[in-house]
Amino acid sequence: MITRERLVEITLVLLLAAVPIAAQLLNEPFYLTLATRVAILGLAAVGLNIALGLGGLVSFGHAAFFGVGGYVAGVLAIHAFNGTPMLLGLPGTKLMPFIWIVAILVSGLVALGIGALTLRTSGVYFIMITLAFAQMIYYFAISWPAYGGEDGLSFYVRNGFPGVDTLKPLPFLLICYALLALGLILFQVLRKSRFGAALQGARQNEVRVAATGISPYRIRLVAFVIWAMITGVAGALYADLNRFVSPAMLSWHMSGELIVLIVLGGVGRRFGPVVGAGLYVLLEYWLGGITERWQLFLGLMLLGVVLFARGGLIGLLAGKPRHG
C-alpha cells in the first residue's frame, strides 16, 4: 500500500527531476543553481538527520565539518592550480572523487577528536561545547593567513570529475543529485540496521541500551563521525558550487541554518532534509526577492513551526510517522 509519506516522497523526486527540464524549457539556467543548492544543503541535512533525527544529538557545531569539507576542496584545488606541494610534500588535486575522499577522511578525523570529548557530556553542555569547538575552528580559519584568512579562498575553475564537464551547471547538478541519493540510501540502510536500532534506542532510553551490553557512547561516536563525513562531502560540493570558501561556512549561523532546514522539513523523516532544503532555498529566493529583510520573516516562520507545527512540512503533508 502506498502511504501518504511515500506519495509525498515520489512527488518530491519528480519535482527535483522536473527542475532541469523546466530550466531548459524556460531558458532559466539559474534554476539549476537553485536545485544544486537544494541538493547540497539537503545532503548536509541528511547527515544531521542521522545524528539528530535518529540519535537525538542536538549540536550547534556541525558547520565545522561543512567548513572543513569546503576548505579541503579549496586547499587541494589551490595547490593543484599553483603546482605547489602541501603538507608532507603531497600534491594537490582537482579531481572531485579524490577531494571527496580527503574531505571524508579529514572531517571524520576532526569529528573523532571533537566527538570523543564532547560526547562525554549531554544536553545543554553538548550544545554549548560543540558550538565552542566549531567556533575555535572558525577563529583558526580567520586568523591563519595562508589560505586567505578572513577573506576566504577563491579558486577560479570548478574541480573536475572524470568524463563529466563540471563547468556546465547541468552535469554538476546531476553529480549533486547522485550524491544526495547515495546519502538518502545510506540513511535508510542505517535506520534499518542493528546500528540504527541501537542509536535510536540510545535516544529513547540510554539506560536500557546500556543494560543490553551496548555502549551508548560508542554508538553515538560512530554516528557523530558518519554525520561529519557526510557533512564534509556536502561542504566540498558547496565550495565547488561557489568556487569559493570562507570562514562563513564555519560560522554558527551555518549550523543554525542546517538545523532550521531539517526542522522545517521534519526531524527523523527520510525525506525531511530534502523537503527542508527545498523550502529553505525557495524561501530565500522568493522572500529574498521581495524584501531585503527576509530573515525577519524566516525567523517568525521558524518560531511558528517550533511553537505550533512540530512535525515540519512532511508532518503537515504526510501525518505523523508510523513509529518513532
Binding site: V124, M128, L131, A132, F140, V267, G299, V306, R310
Partner: protein, 306 residues
C-alpha cells in the same frame, strides 16, 4: 615584555572578564532556574547597546542612557519571556535552541530595520574620560576601570540578592523544586518572568557599557554569547560563583594569550612565523583551556548543587 604592559593587559583581561560575567550570570541563572538554554541572550546585549546609543543621542547624558538601556533590555527580556520563552520550558533542548535562534534572526533584522545598516558610536562620558597612572609608568583609561568596578558591584549585589532577599530565596527554591514552591503559593510564572528580565537587564547593561569602547552594531552580541557559553561550561552550569571565576579566567587568559603568545613563540619560530602562529594559537587558547578543564572536570569547576 615590560611589567607596565603586563599590568595593562591584566586589567584589560579583567575588564573583558567582567563583561563576560554580566552575560554569563544571566545565562546561568536562567538555565539554573528554568532549565532553558537561551541563544538570544546576545540579542539582549545588543538591545542594551542600541538603547544606550539612542538615549545618549536624545538626552546627551550617558548615565540616563545606561538606565534606559537597563530598562529597555529588561523590558525586551520580559516581553520575550511572555510571548515565546514561556512556551518552551517543558520542551526539549532542540525546540529551545531553534526558537531562540529564530529570535536572533528577528531581533537582528528588526534592529537593522530601526537603526539602519551602519554602526553607531558612543562617547565616553566626560567624568570618566582621561587616564590614571599605573605602576611601571604607563597610563590606564578610567572608563575601563569603571567597568571593572561596576562588574564587581553587580557580582556582590547579585550574590546578596540571591542569598539574602526574599526574591533570592524564591529563586533558590525554584532551582531545587519548582512544584513544591508552586504548591506553597508562589506565583511561579511571574517569578520566571522576573528572573528572565533580570538576566536580560544584566546583558543589556553589559552591552551598554561596551558601547563607548566598540562600535554599536547588529551582530555584536554573538561573539560575546559564545564566550559566555565557554565561561559557563568552565564554571559549571547554574553556578553564579562558577560564572564569576570562569569569566575572569576566560577574560584574562584570552587577553594575555593574545598579548604574550607571539612574543613567546618568536624565540622558537622567528618573528614573522611567530606572529601568525601566535595569533592563531591565541584565538584558540580559551577553547583549549576549556577542553583541558572538561577532561578533568566534565561538569565544570563549580557544578551546581554540589
Amino acid at each position: 615584555m615590560s611589567s607596565a604592559l603586563l599590568v595593562e593587559q591584566l586589567l584589560n583581561g579583567l575588564q573583558l572578564g567582567v563583561m563576560l560575567y554580566l552575560m554569563a550570570a544571566g545565562l546561568t541563572l536562567i538555565f539554573g532556574v528554568m532549565g532553558l538554554i537561551n541563544l538570544a541572550h546576545g540579542s539582549l546585549y545588543m538591545v542594551g547597546a542600541f538603547a544606550c546609543a539612542a538615549v545618549a543621542a536624545w538626552t546627551g547624558s550617558f548615565f540616563l542612557a545606561l538606565i534606559g538601556a537597563l530598562i529597555a533590555a529588561a523590558a525586551a527580556g520580559a516581553l520575550m519571556e511572555i510571548l515565546v520563552i514561556r512556551r518552551l520550558y517543558g520542551r526539549d533542548h532542540l525546540d529551545q535552541v531553534l526558537a531562540t535562534f529564530a529570535l536572533i534572526l528577528v531581533f537582528s533584522e528588526a534592529t537593522r530595520w530601526l537603526f539602519g545598516p551602519f554602526p553607531l558610536y558612543l562617547d565616553i562620558p566626560a567624568i570618566l574620560q582621561g587616564t590614571v597612572p599605573l605602576p611601571g609608568g604607563s597610563r590606564y583609561q578610567i572608563y575601563r576601570l569603571a567597568i571593572i568596578g561596576v562588574g564587581i558591584a553587580v557580582a556582590i549585589g547579585l550574590y546578596l540578592l540571591i542569598s539574602r532577599t526574599r526574591l533570592g530565596m524564591r529563586i533558590r527554591a525554584g532551582e531545587s523544586d519548582r512544584e513544591m514552591i508552586a504548591a506553597l503559593g508562589v506565583d511561579i510564572r511571574t517569578l520566571y518572568t522576573v528572573v528572565f528580565a533580570l538576566g536580560a537587564g544584566l546583558a543589556g547593561l553589559a552591552g551598554a557599557m561596551i558601547g563607548p569602547l566598540q562600535s554599536v552594531q547588529v551582530g555584536m552580541g554573538e561573539p560575546v554569547l559564545i564566550l559566555a557559553f565557554v565561561v559557563i561550561v568552565i564554571g559549571g552550569i547554574g553556578s553564579n560563583r562558577g560564572a564569576l571565576i570562569g569569566a575572569i579566567l576566560v577574560g584574562v587568559v584570552d587577553t594575555m594569550g593574545r598579548a604574550l603568545l607571539p612574543g613567546v613563540l618568536s624565540g622558537l619560530l622567528g618573528p614573522s612565523a611567530a606572529a601568525t602562529t601566535g595569533s592563531s594559537l591565541a584565538s584558540m587558547l580559551i577553547y583549549l583551556v576549556m577542553v583541558v578543564i572538561l577532561v578533568f572536570r566534565p561538569r565544570g569547576l563549580f557544578p551546581a548543587g554540589s
